[in-house]
Every structure is written in C-alpha cells, then in structure tokens.
Amino acid sequence: MKITDTFRFATNAATAAPLRAGLLVLAMSIGVAAVVMLTALGDGARRYVVEQFSAIGTNLVIVLPGRSETRGFNPANLVTSTPRDLTIEDANALLRLPEVKRVAPILVATTEINAAGKLREAMLLGTNDDYINVRQMKVGLGRFLSKDEVGHGSAEVVLGAVIRREIFGTENPLGKTVRVGDRRLRVVGVLSEGGQGMGMTTDELLIVPVATAQAMLNSNTLFRILVEARSREQIAEVKAHVLKTITQRHDGEEDVTVITQDAILETFDKILNVLTLGVAGIAAISLAVAGILVMNVMLVSVTQRTGEIGLLKALGATSSAVRQLFMVEAILLSLSGAVVGVGLGYVGAAVLRHLYPSFPAYPPLWAVLAGLATALISGLVFGVMPARRAARLDPIQALSKR
C-alpha cells in the first residue's frame, strides 16, 4: 500500500466519525493549548522580571559595602577587620577609570516631607546628577539635580510623581519650598510617572544631592555605587578594575562586593526558566491524558470496524498494512488536535496580553514545538496498542462479526 493511499484511507476513516474525531481533537488540543498557554505565562513572568531588572539601567556594575565572599587569611585582617564605608571619594575615584562612563552614588533613607500643610513619609534618595542617565529615568517637569562640582550639596529636591500629586495636587510645584526632615529644600523637578526598577517605584521618591543627604543623615557612607560601563564587553573589565581601585583605597582590604547586572539577570533567568519548565510539565499531564483518550477511542474504533478489518485482510492487506492504517489514523487525529491546540494557545496568550498589557505572555517557540512533538509521540505511543490489536485480528472471526 502506498503511503499517500494510507494517509487518504486513514483521513477518510477519521472523518467518517466526526463526533469521535472532534472530541479527540478537542481533548488533544486542550492539552497542547494548556502547554502553550502556561509556558507563555511562565515565560511571560521571566520576561517581566528580566525587563524589570533591565529597567535599572544598562551595563551596570553595582558596588556594595561589605564582603560577601569567604576568603582565606589576609594579613590586612590583622590590622583591622571592620569594613570601611563606601564614600563619595570612592565613587569619584571610580569615575577616573577609563572604561567607566558614569558613576552614581546612592544613599537611601526614609524621611518625612512636609509642605503645604501636608505631611508624608517618603523614601529619600541621595545621589548625583548622573543618576538620571544611569537609571534611564525621565524628568516630567523642571530639571534633575544640577552638577555638584564642589560637593557641598545644594538645597534642591526632585519629587516623585505621586509625592507631587499628593502634596501639590495640580499646582505647579517648581520653585516651591518643601521641608524634608529638618531641611528646607527647593523643588527643581518632578520625575515622570511610571518609573520602575527592582520592584520599587520611583513615583514615591525624593531625590536630593548626595552631599545634602549625607548632611541630613549626619553620615558619610554610601548605600551603593552604581557604575555604568562604556559597553557591554567592558563589564567584566570594569568589575575587576572597580574592585582593584576600591581595594587600593581601602588599605588593600577587599571589603566591598561588586556584582554585575548581567549576573543578577542570569540568576533570575535561570530560576524563572525552571519555573516555566515546571509549569509546562504540569500542562504535559493533560497531554498524557489526551494520549490515553486517543488510545481509548482507537480501541473502540477497532472494535467497531472489526468487519472492515476482516475485509481488508480478506482483500489481501498484510497485518503491517492494517497496523499502519490505524497508526496513521491515531497520529493524524493527535496532530490535528495539536495544531488546533497551538492555535488555541496563541489565542489564549493574546487574550492574556490584552487583559494584562504589561505582562509579555508570548508562548516560547520551544514550548510550541515540544507541545506538537508530545502530541505526535502520544499519538504514536498510544496508537500502537489499538493498531496492533487491529493487525492481530483473525480475519475469519472479524468477517463473521457484524
């Protein structure tokens, strides 16, 4: 029997029972659609987190005070074991490295803002004029912090969008004076709304010059230093040089931790990929169920078509030809279910994206292919038993039954 004829015959046999074929295709398509949609969800979550992390800037190297690694004995430890603080001078030193494009020191504290008779808790962020570029944020009104050449810190503040709205309403806040902590600061700008990063919204920030913040908090330490490399390729180099520079400045003791944005991204990427795989695995269970249904339906079909099988054998069909006919039918049914399922999955993902526009729920290609392949394999595996049963039928008994 020619393969094209086998396909034609099997297609004919499958479509001759539309309800049976339809239900089977439905079951298989639900399984595949579940895989496609759930992986879209998982992958969407991964992308969402990665995007959030990318939103803190590009080519970033982050310097944290304190060492997080366990090291062997270092003679410097004999002299002192107290980690030195990160200072503005450290940040300025890093700016001198050739591969470094920008440096933004960060100091964070909670404080109160008091203006126009209103009081509100807010996050105070002390930094410099480059911060806006490093973090790739936008100013909605006015300007960002001015360049502080001297390092004395001017009495100016940039408000987050929510703070501005709650304190000033629709009034223009530029040039107004607000009381932050025990200082009176002039509003020079407002950040545009919707800034995100590391799960923290920028809408509720008060940004002041780092020197001003240090004076307010009576401290000279920094929370972080953000370093932006000139290019992606130089990130590793920057990391090494930053570590070396700080170590030198801290009397040879390596008391800071330098992490790269890429490393963080990779970690999250890994975690969420595993999550996606897990979700896909759960969805694959429904595919297995659909496969068992294929087997059940094909077994019923073999029983119903016993007379036909007997006839085919009497007409000279070999057992392998009969087996092939039923295998191809099972595979065709599974595959068409899979194709319908992929379609459904894409539609479902599109609906998800429509409902949650910020959530990039696109089904990953590997999941689509895996769904199709699983459907095909389950068709093969679960088609074997019914097809073998059909092939093994005794033609005499098969013919006498009807």
Partner: protein, 277 residues
C-alpha cells in the same frame, strides 16, 4: 492431474477448540478443483463448508495436510505471503457484502487496487471499466447505504474480481437478497465463470446449488458426496451465447471447460455418488 488442478487439497484436517470440546471442522478432506469449474458446496450448518471456504481462501490454515494452489504449496507460506496470494489470486464475496460503509461504490471497488499499491491512473481506468461492466457507472459516487441489495452485491463482486483472481469464493452470495436480485447476482457470477473464472459457492439454497456443474455435499467435516451434474448442460448451452472473450486473459484451456459438462463421469474423487443431487 496435479498440474492441471487449480486447487488441490490432500488429507486436510482442521480442528477447533470451543472451550473444552474439540470440533473437527474438517476431516481428511481430499479435493481437486480444476480451472474454470463451477462448484457449489452445500451441507447443514456446522458441516465444515465455511471452514473449507476459508481454507481455500487462505484465511485459515489446515492443521494437517497440504494445500496446493496453482501447483504451489501454500501451507508453508507466512502471513504476509498468504496475504499477497490472497490479494492476487482469490476473490471473496460475502453474504453481508462487507462493503466499507463510508466509502463510495467506486472507492470500495478500488480497495484491492489501493491495497496492492497500484498507481492512481491505472486504478481510475480499471475502476471505471469495472463500473461499466457491472452497470454501476451511475452509482459510482453513492455510498453503500444508498445502494440496493443487488447493487451492493454487484459492487462486492466488482471488488472481488478487479484484480482478476484465479478463484472466486462466494459465501451465501444471495443470502441477503430477494429472489429476483439473487437471480441477477447468480447470473452475474455464472457469467464470470463462463469467462473462465473458477467459482466456488457455499450455500444452503438447494436451487442455487443445483445450478452448479459440480456439487459437493459436506457432512460432519467430510465430503459426503461430490457430484458433477450433466443436466446443467442446458444451462451451459444457454450461456454459450455470452461473450466469453470479454476478459482476454482467460488462461483456461478451452477443452477443460467443455469436458466437464460433456463427460460427467470424469476423473473425480472416489467419494462421489452417482445420484444427481
């Protein structure tokens, strides 16, 4: 004799086990069938006639004995080889027609060609010719449930003969038909036989059995009588008018077709009885 025989069964035994009981479906059956013969196998239910037909049709294997089809020992062939022989040399006609319900008349007739892997163009040619020969051209695209009983059996006969088999096996071919359509179908089968196809009919119907030149009566798994009729001569003569040369590939020696009716007491197995059934 063995060279002339189309079918040669010698000392065939076939036993079934139904639960604890042993059923001897065929006991020491010896049978020789020449090309072009018209044979009716009769007998009560359970006499083994269906088993004999299945065995000749290679759907069943004997437990003992040898079966030579066209001089070739087919008892030793494996399942796939048997399927090939069945496809090329044997045509089946069933009481219940056994048409595939979802396929059209044309597709049903085409089935043996599809199974043997004929190219599409050749299939179309042969099927349209068969439809014409059996007067089914205008029913070609109808499904079996849209056909009358007679038309269904004609489709089944067209399907059985499309590969020009050496022997046509009919199991109660008129059992599901009324008398008139049954008559039509039998005439059609006899016409095919006249064209040289060996025809073996299993039937309960005495009238149908009586039309055959050679009648084999089975009882209890053995051949009780094997008679070659002479009165069929008249029928035979009436059939002389039919165009015996429609199928040019008739490879039976012409004298063979003649000798049987003219000389009723031919070299038949000893078990035959003088009484004409």
């Amino acid at each position: 004799m063995p060279d002339e025989s189309l079918i040669s069964l010698s000392d065939i035994n076939r036993t079934f086990y139904l639960g604890d009981s042993k059923v001897h479906a065929l006991r020491n059956v010896d049978l020789n069938i020449a090309r072009g013969e018209y044979i009716a196998v009769m007998g009560p239910s359970g006499s083994g006639k269906s088993t004999l037909l299945n065995l000749i049709g290679l759907l069943d294997r004997p437990d003992e004995g040898t079966y030579k089809l066209e001089g070739r020992d087919v008892t030793t062939l494996d399942a796939d080889e048997l399927a090939a022989v069945r496809s090329e040399r044997i045509g089946f006609i069933f009481q219940s027609f056994h048409l595939v319900p979802r396929l059209t008349a044309a597709a049903n007739i085409e089935l043996p060609l599809v199974l043997s892997g004929f190219p599409a163009a050749e299939r179309v040619k042969r099927v349209s010719q068969a439809l014409k020969e059996y007067g089914l051209t205008d029913r070609a695209n109808h499904r079996p449930n849209e056909l009358s009983g007679g038309q269904r059996q004609r489709v089944a006969i067209a399907r059985a003969t499309i590969l020009r088999p050496a022997v046509l096996l009919a199991d109660e071919p008129t059992g599901n038909l009324d008398r008139v359509t049954g008559e039509e179908v039998v005439k059609l089968l006899e016409k095919l036989n006249a064209q040289g196809m060996t025809l073996i009919v299993v039937t309960h119907d005495q009238a149908l059995g009586a039309r055959a030149r050679r009648q084999i009566r089975m009882e209890d798994g053995g051949i009780a009588s094997d008679v070659t009729n002479s009165h069929v001569e008249a029928n035979d003569a009436s059939r002389d008018g039919l165009p015996t040369d429609i199928i040019p590939s008739v490879d039976i020696p012409t004298d063979n077709a003649q000798t049987v009716p003219v000389e009723p007491v031919s070299s038949l197995p000893a078990s035959r009885q003088p009484n004409e059934g």
